[in-house]
């Protein structure tokens, strides 16, 4: 079910909530917190609306991003990923695990001091995007397990 705030944003832009757009939005809401690429959305949309076209998915994602319903980012080479905008938590960062490629969100916003510093130098900071490349706890644990001599053999 598409939320009220999405409805409002669509209406303000005089856009219709068609079944295709609803399907895409449902998919994004069902995958809250994940970062989907256009073809991943398309694949999932096909199971709900078999006749949907890839162009519609691209158009819908683009439109939702311009309405600030979705957030558009690029994590890997030349490929956009979209996630549902979180109404309250504007500024969040991402940890990209170098081993399993999972993307974890960080809610901490510890950049205020840096931004304040730069504002004093004459910049007006509008937004920021921080990507941390790391190994996540799971992968570190797995690596430790692998390197442990196998007792059973």
């Amino acid at each position: 079910m598409v939320g009220r705030f999405v409805h409002d944003k669509l209406e303000k832009g005089r856009y219709k909530l068609t079944s295709q757009r609803a399907a895409v939005l449902d998919i994004m809401m069902d995958n809250r917190g994940r970062h989907l690429s256009a073809d991943e959305v398309f694949f999932e949309a096909k199971t709900r609306l078999p006749n949907i076209g890839i162009a519609t998915v691209y158009r819908t994602l683009e439109k939702m991003a311009s309405l600030e319903i979705l957030h558009k980012t690029v994590f890997d080479q030349g490929k956009y990923r979209y996630e549902l905008c979180d109404e309250n938590a504007h500024h969040h960062h991402h940890i990209i695990c170098l081993s399993c490629n999972s993307i974890i969100e960080v809610q901490d916003d510890l950049l205020n001091s840096l931004e304040k510093h730069l504002e004093e130098q004459g910049y007006r900071i509008i937004d920021h995007e921080l990507k941390l490349y790391a190994y996540c706890p799971d992968c570190l644990q797995k690596r430790r397990d692998d390197s442990t001599p196998d007792v059973s053999s």
Copy 2:
């Protein structure tokens, strides 16, 4: 002139410093601090080596990036940009002006506290990339000038 550290890195990888590779490296060094795309490098390289092919430019940039001589990033949609790695200042961030699209480097590394926080949670942070979207002082000044009523008319 290609620096010594580049030479060393190439030799360690058993790679030859051909005239094409030297040209690309010279271009990157002449544009220290700027962020060039493959076609910008290609265009400039053509003026020095008219016969150089675009494929060689791509291959060279890719190779230099894997040797950590160049740093590969994506600022705008689906297009890589390369800059010379600064030997001392590993971690620097970028301010991308939303008005003039200029890219300014920030040397301050105020992310240590955030990283320490995350390390305590079990992550091993390898690298980070911070992009700040802002209006630079120049553009803010220009905007102020524009909005000032024109006295002469």
